[in-house]
Symmetry: none
Subunit: 405 residues, 2 copies
């Protein structure tokens, strides 16, 4: 099965939007063992869409279009595809109703424009879009198959997982087997060095690292017949990275933390300095966080650390706001103030200014108090202000996760 | 001048590398007023490169290839381009010396493979690469022009700035003029409806909307001779969207807020419920925030609203935690507790549960207290939990910005 991707939109073409959708789709498709053979981006123009489709089918059996399904006049994918396949567009009462209901749900008047989205290819199969107004569409004629997908990633991704990949698995039979491992607190270079021996030992496994700002993912794929080797590999891999492993790619630390604490009936509070609310925000993003996470504080100024939280002024004066001692007092004071079971504190230097030789930019202390025990760890994160804050937040989640597990 | 981009490489094709290069190049080129009309990604295959070039020239006069200039056997761009143009490849002693010197400089032995990079199209012009071993190349025959650029962004970018853009400016002369406007608190469909009359009135302007989760950008471009029309358009545009306009595309609300408050010598505190620290985090991300932003609170539970902040228990009992009255008390209590000049409070229902007919998911109150005045506004944001929280945060920044301006 050969797949081509055709993204449609002036915004992608002029570079305003980076085409992450094509990369996402390609990654998911390749995991199944199908081949992505061509990507294209064309303008919001009916002619260019027709031309692009014509060309894409010289490469592939299946074309996935991305974008151009919106309500405005420059959303022309439906029209271009209809013209290419010489199919008519018909008004679909059910789609219309769905769009109408969407606007009722969000309590807004439905603009006339959105009626455009209720048209579909006559013999097309409609793919529901729970996250927006533009439904997707599947169409097949002879050997040419096509999925029309919306541009916004949160609308596109569920359709890819639920419809495109399912369709492909049906078409190509047995997928490859695959395992993923997410590592925290270790850089790609160091991880790769430690892995050298396993790379050599398991040539039948495709071991691929994917680097992110605050973690490294390893995705290992192979064919079914090497399942045993994959399992031995996994054992050795996890032994090497036991201090860094936080679950597979789909594990979300914030969700795990809320789930684990909920199960144990424990409550949580946070206090942050340099991360300024990022940690709390990650926790609040979990549905149902309110039964576990009670409150947070952002004690950005020294005065707020002392007044609001009750950190000893002398400790800050002697050791500094960014110190093991202050971090420890922060989580301990927070715990007693909020009467929560678990309290976590972060204090660090996010930069670009404020660093010294002894305390460089990126230095961060994270303190976790559970019951009557407190653990403080120190880190030096690199990157700009934003990255340091993100890395500190992820590391805090990882430390918290490890401590409550 | 019409430009097409042809990225070459299996790693981009399979989604392992996100094609940020194409977006970068397109952005830079469009600034000059040239048009990027097509993007493609093809495999590391001589045939696919030839086919891709053939197709790209049906769109464009100038093709930029990215990648495939490395030293390994699957780097085939030079060969593909030579075959397409029916040109021979010749060994270039000077390039060879450059690669050799590079390895001396980085104190490494030069692998035999890198000799491959010393070949160039017979009539091609070599573009030096100070950051790597693969030189770029420019070639022109009849009306077809081509730049061969390396894949690593740190090697590609200097070449684009120093050679590609300079070449384009020479070709197209005077660049276009452009203005941008960022609108908050209005959806694309509604904005488009309001703009219809201006679209008709100013056919000489290219008016393009770019939608984001929590704002809509309008970028208007035209040639120098329509400057006067652009200025009249701008007047009318800003009159229509006076309640939504928050500056041009490069304006960052968080930076503006910190800058404005800093200038006026005012201090700020925040209290959040549904956004859970996102607002504070945006403010803390601004370098130098500490002189303005003193502290934040995340009063997620009702108890914390009452105990920590001093909101009246009866107000919550009567009107609910998500209500105008509670929001107002939150910002007022916060102001007096923290002794800051400005205090802002957010309380809302982020969903997916917790909504009622009267108070649906997305309902959010934002309250700003400045001095002895308090303004409370209510909104209904749509989207999933994450989007509602992001939209509420952006709207809070916008409201705060408008109030302190």
């Amino acid at each position: 099965m050969r797949v081509a991707i055709l993204a449609i939109g002036n915004e992608v073409l002029c570079g305003k939007i980076i085409n992450t959708n094509s990369a996402f789709i390609a990654r998911e498709i390749e995991k199944l063992g199908a081949k992505v053979v061509h990507h294209q981006v064309v303008a919001d123009s009916e002619n260019d869409i027709v031309k692009g489709l014509d060309y894409a089918y010289t490469y592939a059996d299946l074309v996935l279009t991305i974008g151009g399904l919106g309500p405005t006049l420059d959303d022309l994918t439906r029209h271009g595809v209809a013209k290419y396949f010489d199919e008519s567009l018909v008004f679909d009462e059910k789609i219309y109703q769905g769009i109408h209901d969407y606007f009722v749900r969000v309590k807004k008047e439905m603009p006339r424009n959105n009626e455009r989205q209720a048209y579909r290819l006559k013999d097309g199969v409609v793919i529901p879009n729970p996250n927006g107004t533009a439904p997707g569409l599947f169409f097949k004629v002879d050997n040419r198959e096509i999925f029309l997908l919306p541009g916004p990633p949160n609308e596109l991704k569920p359709m890819v997982f639920e419809y495109v990949l399912t369709y492909l698995v049906d078409q190509i039979g047995q997928p490859q087997i695959s395992r993923s491992y997410r590592l925290y607190g270790i850089g790609e270079s160091f991880a790769e060095e430690k892995l050298m021996v396993l790379y050599k030992k398991y040539p039948m496994l495709n071991i691929a690292p994917y680097c992110s700002i605050s973690y490294v993912d390893y995705v290992v794929t192979t064919s079914q017949k090497y399942e045993e080797q994959l399992m031995t590999f996994e054992e050795q891999f996890l032994a090497i990275f036991s201090d860094h492993y936080g679950g597979d790619q789909s594990t979300k630390l914030n969700e795990e933390i809320i789930r684990l604490l909920g199960k144990k009936g424990l409550t949580l509070s946070t206090v942050e300095s340099c991360t300024g609310g990022l940690l709390a925000s990650e926790l609040v993003n979990v549905v149902g966080a309110s039964s576990v996470f009670l409150e947070g504080m952002i004690t950005y100024s020294n005065e707020s650390k002392i007044k609001r939280l009750g950190v000893n002024q002398a400790v800050i004066a002697e050791h500094g706001a960014v110190s093991e001692q202050t971090a420890k007092q922060m989580s301990q004071s927070l715990q007693s103030l909020t009467e929560t079971d678990v309290a976590i504190a972060i204090t660090g230097i996010a930069g670009p200014k404020g660093g010294t030789k002894l305390k460089p930019v990126g230095l961060t202390y994270i303190s976790v108090t559970i019951g009557d025990k407190t653990l403080v760890k120190s880190y030096i994160f690199n990157g700009n202000r934003e990255k340091i804050r993100e890395r500190a937040t992820t590391q805090a989640l990882f430390l918290l996760y490890c401590e409550i597990k």
